[in-house]
Amino acid sequence: MEATIEVAGLRKRYGQTLALDGLSFRVEPGMITGFVGPNGAGKSTTMRVILGLDGADEGTALVGGSRYVQLRHPLSQIGALLDAGALQPSRKARHHLLWLAHSQGLPARRVDEVLERTGLQSAAGRKAGGYSLGMRQRLGIAAALLGDPPVLMFDEPFNGLDPEGMAWMRSFLRGLAAEGRAVLVSSHLMSELQDNADHLLVIGRGRLLADTSVAEMLASASKDRVMVRTAARAEAVTALAKAGATVAVTSHDTLAVAGLNADRIAAVLGQQQVPFSGLAAHRATLEEAYMELTRSAVEFRGSHQAQPAAAKELAG
Amino acid sequence: MSRALHAEWTKLRTVAAPAWLLLGLVALTVAASTLIASVTKCPGSCGDDTTKISLTGVMLGQAAVAGLAVLVVTAEYSTGMIRVSLAATPRRSVLLGAKAAIVTGTVLVAGAVAVLGSLVAGRELLPGNGFTAAHGFAALSLLHGPTLRAAAGSVLYLALIGLFSLGVGVAVRDPAAAIAVVLGLVYVIPVIGDVMLSGVWQRRIERWSPMDAGLAVQVTRNVAKQPIGPWLGLGVLGLWAAGALLIGWLVLRLRDA
């Protein structure tokens, strides 16, 4: 197995806050691995530790089997985009890539190649300070690709992109994974990851909550739940509860039922003559599954508690 | 204006750097004054002016004032917060006025502490170094008119250096460049003046450079023989401050934030 990113037992403390609490995972090649968790869960810290920017109190983070500082050509091992704004505004985009290329002993030709690949050729002569956010993201990706690394790591690449930019980013990431690279993408936008990521690493409060494929995660979140649409909500709740189901009211005319399968529900409701207009096996979204997992790990919960996302979807 | 003032005051007191710089102003001034008062001896420097010796630390303390005033404005440019500030206080002159008032106020208070501390050190140390009645020196006292003028003038001097630095900061925007300009004008010109091989130019520098002219206010002996009178000298520094603030204001108005 090709070694890409291996993280074992990372622990890091900033003053009182425990940012990473024994985090371990590895990233596989040829797929997009989503790295998700609420704000402050430790995603960016983990990425900084992987890149040797921050030191961990305990544990190791290896890239290609070595600690980052020991890599001879780091950008040929891993390309990373942490902060698209990390530029000197007065330097031209092409020159930004040029000094990076020089730091790796790469020829200037390589700069033109990555500019072309990210569609920035025409804007390469402009100062990076004048770039829009989308262009800065592209420039950051160009920098990450400079060493043509087998491993790529992007922190919130979808942030602030317009729909066109998102579409570009999505297909770009897919393309990179299809080439056999390992791609680690942190994001809050579950909908983006649902369609694109193959594997998920979910963290909360510095701990790994799930290390699973997207398909498995969706399946686990959807299991045994059936949505019932009915005008006679109270009666339905009573009938189903009596039959041994766990019932949650999700809106004025929908119930989420667990503990009974759809056939059994239809039978119980028919028996009790409770009218219902719809019965559907619940298909959880990734966002819902994520909310479920991270609920306990959310640190900065707003005072106004959000309704479960699934309920909103049905209600709308 | 009062809201802008309140906002600026809140900005100033909610970050650590200004407090440290104000503390640095007091510490540097008193420490340098104490050092110089303790090593200056008569005979040797009997021609010196005890008030001026005691207040020498102001020359060092002003570096902290310059740092504070420059930071108050350039920190906003380097973080982009200036756009938030201008959104909250769209009138450029009000914003600049509020900043100037806050810098002046805090420097006046810290400067008064620094100057009084320096005078106390001089009063305690200088008689032991031979600056006694036998050599024609009275103990330092604020009841002595020229000494009071020198003390009050030194506090005003610090405030004017603050306003000057603020003006440069607004005009230049970059912290490193602004500090470099202020240090060049305040410190390097007098150094060049000291060594100037041309008497005419030496006198010109003593009359017109911000520090030499401004510190004329500290002189209490042979006032008439000085290149420039005490209040006139402080007035020259006032002109420098006014000029810098005017340029800063023009830049603030005419250039995009």
Binding site: P29, S103, L106, S213 | V39, P43, V191, M196
Partner: protein
């Protein structure tokens, strides 16, 4: 579902790894920001223009210009002669002499070197003015002629520097016995073989120790040999600025056991006051308002009885050091360029912290020490070149202007750009700039804020000059020995000799450390600051 693709293999050939790549990347970084290039041009322009501006209106006034009268050139009552090497020298002493042939020797016992003469005009607080001067000299001398500035070699007893052999003004050899009391008699001997003079000393006239030899170029035929006594001006400044005392002093010494070989027939001892300014040139004692005193030369003379000669004299045989070093003073104006250099050095690293670019840099080059070193080399290199260009122009033009303004030979040296002193000034200015830029860079790494870094480093460099003017001189001296400002000694145009007593005041362009010694202090600061920056850069999370 776990889908495993074929791991990606790049067909990109890996570039070379190493420090060179980091250096090249930092250079690319520097040259691709236009503001920095402009700042660099500003450094060159400021370094060139400010010293020129300073030297343009600098007319040397009567106090320091050479007054030409019959008998030579006089500055403030001192005779300025031109030494064998063409430098300005002081050559004033009382000489009891006889002609000496191509080979010969002179031997004598010297005792009781003491201050003498009247002591009027000594201000209170300067009792040392009345004591025997440390560099009062009494001994034997062989000199080409009695003309001031002619070649010579001498062995002597000094007031407080033991027995010395000196020749041709600049050369000074310490004797074996470092502390010889002026009261203790010593035997001294000089031998001549053509142009080769050898000096000896002895405690008893039988056991002789060789002090050294001097080859005096062009010393041929008959020369003058004999006894001499001289005592330099007492110059002292305790306080700052104008509290300065400058008094002539006078010393006498007794000689006996005098033995002259190689003397000419029918000759006897003659006394000559060598290099004494004629009456009217050296004013009688006069104290200026600030306590600055210039007094009369007491002249000299000798008496003899029973082979014992008592000789009295005043003056000095030494290189002439003018009070003011005009080229150094002009080059202090390079401080303007230096502040720009410091700001540039600081910004070269703080710009990376401002927007998080440092993370990209450290991702590309994870070995942080290398990044810091590469940055230092780049910033030091570019500022060195910019300051070098500026300093060369400044030197060339300033030197011409200073000479046109009266700062000219024989009192002041005419330094050529390609001479040792000229190169030291120009290269030294560039080296100071390079050092200051790295100090700025290191401070920027430590503070991560440009304002703080510039304030700290520029303060460290400039404030010693401000304080030097208000502190007592002894303290000012230490300040200019210990702070990075010590490196300004590189810009000295006037050479300072330990055997010359002068008041070394920074506002006259004199620094306590000589030449390259000062740059060692700056280098030490740079290394300490870089080490501090490196430790923090390595320890801190980026």
């Amino acid at each position: 579902m776990t889908q495993l693709g074929t791991p990606y293999r790049s067909d990109l050939r890996a570039g070379r790894d190493g420090f060179w790549q980091v250096l090249r990347a930092e250079w690319t970084k520097f040259r691709t920001v236009r503001g920095w290039a402009i700042a660099l041009v500003a450094v060159a322009v400021l370094t060139a223009v400010m010293p020129i501006l300073l030297s343009t209106p600098a007319k040397s006034n009567d106090n320091v210009t050479c007054v030409r009268r019959p008998g030579g050139c006089f500055v403030g009552g001192q005779t300025i002669a031109t030494g064998p090497a063409g430098d300005a020298v002081t050559d004033t002493f009382y000489f009891v002499h006889q002609p000496m042939a191509v080979s010969g020797s002179i031997t004598a016992r010297v005792s009781a070197l003491r201050a003498s003469g009247n002591a009027t005009g000594v201000p209170p607080g300067y009792p040392e003015a009345l004591a025997t001067q440390p560099w009062a000299k009494a001994g034997l001398i062989i000199k080409a002629s009695t003309r001031p500035g002619s070649a010579y070699a001498a062995v002597m007893l000094t007031g407080r520097h033991g027995i010395r052999m000196q020749y041709n003004f600049t050369q000074d050899i310490a004797g074996n016995e470092p502390v010889a009391s002026a009261a203790t008699p010593r035997w001294l001997r000089l031998t001549r073989a053509g142009d080769l003079i050898t000096g000896y000393e002895s405690p008893d006239g039988t056991r002789w120790t060789r002090l050294g030899t001097a080859r005096l170029a062009g010393l041929s035929g008959t020369v003058q040999a004999g006894l001499f006594v001289t005592s330099p001006d007492f110059i002292e400044s305790q306080g700052s600025g104008d509290d300065r005392v400058d008094l002539p002093t006078h010393a006498t010494a007794a000689f006996d056991g005098i033995l002259l070989h190689g003397g000419l027939a029918d000759q006897s001892w003659a006394g000559t006051s060598v290099g004494s300014p004629p009456a009217g040139v050296r004013p009688t004692l006069k104290c200026a308002s600030g306590g600055r005193c210039k007094g009369l030369s007491a002249g000299g003379g000798f008496t003899s009885a029973d082979g014992r000669y008592v000789v009295g004299g005043s003056g000095d045989i030494a290189p002439y050091e003018p009070d003011v070093d005009p080229i150094d003073v002009a080059f202090l104006a390079t401080l303007f360029g230096l502040i720009t250099v410091i700001a540039l050095g600081a910004v070269f690293v703080t710009a990376e912290y401002r927007r998080g670019l440092i993370r990209t840099s450290l991702t590309a080059s994870p070995r942080r020490g290398r990044v810091l070193l590469a940055k230092s080399i780049v910033i030091a290199g570019v500022t060195f070149v910019a300051a070098l260009i500026g300093a060369a122009i400044a030197f060339h033009v300033s030197e011409q202007k200073l000479i046109a303004n009266g700062w000219a030979p024989p009192v002041w040296p005419d330094i050529s750009l390609t001479s040792g002193a000229g190169l030291q000034i120009v290269l030294g200015t560039a080296a100071i700039a390079a050092g200051a830029s790295v100090l700025g860079l290191a401070a920027g790494t430590i503070f991560r804020r440009s304002a703080g870094a510039v304030l700290a480093v520029a303060g460290l460099l400039v404030i010693p000059f401000i304080l030097a003017h208000v502190l007592p001189l002894a303290w000012a001296d230490w300040l200019l020995r210990l702070t990075p400002a010590a490196a300004f000694s590189l810009q000295a145009g006037v050479r300072h000799y330990p055997q010359v007593n002068t008041v070394c005041a920074p506002y006259h362009g004199c620094f306590p450390l000589a030449g390259w010694d000062g740059s060692v202090v700056l280098a030490a600061w740079v290394l300490v600051a870089l080490a501090g920056g490196f430790c923090l850069l390595r320890r801190r999370d980026a």
